[in-house]
Symmetry: C2
Subunit: 515 residues, 2 copies
């Protein structure tokens, strides 16, 4: 009873919170959240009214997939998995939550976005934030020193959702990684080949893959006079160059991060450079850059990378771009990012060969990214044994968004089932005969449906076919049963033909073999 009084007090307070937010015209999300808490409290009191009032919604930043969205999702997955398998990848799966300590210290600033589970008396758990850290944990735990694997699964971030742009709190990641001690740049180049194949295969329009190297960035910072302890923070400012003009980036460096104007300007010169193998060669000769051993190692590897990319026939989309600086702490070598570009962008290879800066292309966002992380597995290994890794993550949610919009815009009707034939009847009292026939079809592996009504109208049976794109109808009537045939109707053309019962399965297979 006393407990109940406490809850009632809490309900009163929470009610005030909601009223206040409403009067302040707070955001809908914020109000919804507080209302949800209020309802939760009310639910605890229970009461005999039986019906609680629900806010019928999914959690903030998440969504259901309806059958149409699932059909598109499956199509995208099938292209991507097809590519991974073509390159000989295995797949693994890991639990949706990890011991909290596994994720600690891996994501820097972003750690605050990790979802923790409530301590219900057991281990402290967190939802996975990406698939890379669980992969590293898996390798260390099982002492695996080489594997080529893909992993497609959902990850969780308590970020500000922007759902129309495909940014969710629950979202798929789609990772391909190669772990193992191999000769330089061969697996790295294969990752880029895979990005190239997937983006071409999904037919998303023109794209470009930017490449850089952590060591080149660090070397560049060093020779430009950035103090060691400012590398990471300056790097994250450089990372904003795809969203902000250079002037603003420079301002942030100088005003907020306290970098000297001279250093900033020197960085500015370098990060405006884009090219191909020629640019790497030129920078190896660059008086300042060549002073950094690290930078030289990175530049030599970029050269080697481009050699392999040429053999893989993908250099037309790849550009060495010194402004690329991916955020994650764990990268140690090559890094890359693929962006979709709007139509009309000059081919990258020409620019690269001329050494001229690329025409400003409007980036519509990153759809893949990755790099080399040789140290991460060692963070999990009790003896710190390293397993070199390189990988790529396909930005599948953004791809889903684009595909959904494309489908919406096109006249194409997305089928959500694969049913080949509907078993129907034009007359009453033929339920048993329909069930018998559909059983024959199912047992022969035909995808078939039957209406769950004793006496459905023929029209409603045909309508269902139209709506869900079922190409054929097998119609039974007294006459057909007497003659031992089935009337096979082609939904699109309305053509009807009598087929003997014995030949029906073959006929359905023949007519739907291309579907």
């Amino acid at each position: 009873m006393e407990h109940k009084a406490q809850i009632q007090e809490a309900i009163k307070i929470q009610g005030e919170v909601v009223r206040k937010l409403k009067s302040e015209k707070a955001s809908k999300d914020q109000i919804d959240e507080e209302v949800a808490k209020l309802l939760e409290l009310k639910a605890q009191i229970g009461g005999d009214d039986g019906k609680h009032q629900f806010v019928l919604k999914t959690a903030k930043g998440t969504r259901d997939y309806n059958p149409k969205q699932m059909a598109i999702r499956e199509r995208v997955f099938s292209t991507i998995i097809g590519c991974f398998k073509r390159h000989g990848a295995e797949t693994i799966d890991t639990p949706v939550f990890e011991l909290k300590e596994m994720l600690t210290g891996k994501y820097g600033e972003d750690s605050k976005l990790i979802y923790d589970l409530k301590d219900q008396g057991g281990e402290l758990l967190s939802l996975r934030y990406d698939l890379t850290v669980p992969f590293a944990r898996y390798l260390a735990m099982n002492k695996i020193t080489n594997i080529k694997r893909y992993h497609i699964a959902k990850v969780y971030r308590r970020d500000n959702p922007a759902m129309t742009r495909g940014r969710y709190r629950e979202f798929y990641q789609c990772d391909f990684d190669i772990a193992g001690q191999y000769d330089a740049m061969i697996p790295d180049a294969e990752c880029l080949k895979i990005v190239y194949e997937i983006l071409s295969g999904l037919d998303l329009g023109d794209f470009r893959i930017k490449v850089n190297d952590r060591r080149i960035l660090d070397g560049m910072f060093a020779v430009c006079g950035v103090p060691d302890d400012k590398f990471r923070t300056i790097c994250s400012t450089v990372d904003k160059l795809d969203k902000m003009p250079w002037e603003d980036v420079r301002k942030e460096m100088v005003n907020e991060k306290g970098l000297s104007e001279e250093a900033a300007d020197q960085i500015g010169e370098y990060v405006s450079l884009q090219g191909g193998m020629d640019l790497a060669e030129r920078l190896l000769q660059d008086q300042k850059m060549s002073r950094s051993k690290q930078a030289c190692a990175g530049l030599s590897d970029i050269k080697l990378l481009f050699t392999y990319l040429q053999l893989f026939q993908v250099t037309d989309k790849v550009v060495f771009d010194l402004s690329l600086a991916r955020g994650l702490d764990y990268y140690t070598g090559i890094i890359y990012e693929a962006v979709l570009t709007q139509a009309g962008v000059a081919p990258v290879s020409t620019e690269a060969q001329n050494g001229a800066p690329a025409e400003e292309s409007v980036s519509v966002g990153s759809v893949a990214g990755g790099g080399r992380y040789d140290g991460l597995v060692g963070m999990f290994d009790p003896k710190g044994r390293k397993v070199p890794c390189v990988g790529v993550s396909i930005g599948i949610e953004r791809i889903f968004s684009i595909m959904e919009q494309k489908t919406e815009a096109s006249a194409e009707k997305v089928r959500t089932t694969e049913v080949q034939v509907m078993v129907a009847s034009a007359q009453k009292n033929l339920l048993e005969e329909r069930l018998q026939l559909v059983t024959e079809l199912w047992n022969a592996g035909i995808k078939a449906e039957v209406m769950y009504k004793k006496n459905p109208k023929l029209l409603s049976q045909l309508q269902h076919c139209e709506e869900s794109g079922i190409p054929l109808v097998a119609i039974l009537g007294e006459q057909e049963l007497k003659d031992g045939v089935v009337k096979l109707r082609v939904v699109a053309s309305r053509e009807e033909v009598d087929v003997s019962r014995a030949a029906l399965i073959e006929e359905i297979r023949r007519r739907t073999s291309e579907a």
Copy 2:
């Protein structure tokens, strides 16, 4: 600093907890959990040693899937999804967590097993406990009144794991449900047809599908003199009949649940009955049972169900079993459960026809179950509008366990990739040529691999093929390059044949078309 002191104090206390548990020889799980908490506290202090000591493990009751397990998992899924698609099902997906209030009041006693997320300032969330409640929420939220859908996804229960028997805290559910107002027992019968097809298709040995009806159970309890308020608790005791002999069940009813001995004995007579349509007919004539309207409605539906099951050709495995009483509160009509039986069980149909009680068959556990739940969606609808539903859940984790054990026991080598050909060289300095060839193959859609080494030994290239079951090797050498051919080697037979470069792709396709 003060904060740090607090943590150090907490570390001291937690250290004591761990020592105490160890001295008391507590369970490994319990100790591991407390150690994990200790390490978490230590991690908060950080310190400059850089390396934290990790307990390298997955969360309690969860597991990783390695590539071999994934290959088996995919094979199982493909059979099951094939069946769902054959029956015209669409698929949907829902988020892994729901607003906590969505799950409140749906699982009775078991609610304590729900994983909650930590309140990090936002909505109160819980991990989904099954796929049925999210499905009902989805239907109510989108005002969907009919759909046939499957959903395969992981669910979460803070249960005592028994991992060797396939019981985990994170596990797959694999649900097929038909929602909509249809004529009685047609969709219900299709659910059983689906269970039949899947269990046959997976080749798990003999099985039996038990069927009963909530209304028959309730009617039976009423006519046996069970007080209304004891229906649920007596029902959950009856549910134990598959694990306990009748004497123990009776004892629990009388001694623990306070049922009269007379009522218990009457129940005992009914729950020993098994049969088919004939049993339903007999019970409709039963003096006592026929007094219950509810029971009669259920019995008539069982009769109708068996009519449809005959048309679906599945009666040889289905048995009407009055002892079946599935635990979940939300069932309102027909219920069923499939169990694998050890070899040597007499066919169910004979027993059913004789009306004789079945020979005691040793159940090796339930692998599928489900039933009708006409009220659940209404619990979510603000106006309480009902959407009748019937569905089945395939116990996929137990099936994985069985398949893994079967594969382990057999000589079959499970391939974890689908690579058709390895591009290899016998001589040094042919990396570029290998990369060129593998590019040709990839671009033609061939699944191909190449070693990430400049000069790999031929032996290690061939070994890799043996180990991962790659059937073909395309070998390049100076001579082959000069002649414009590739030496194609069949790994199994060691046969080698020169194939012209132009004909290579066709030749590989031809030789691996059955793989």
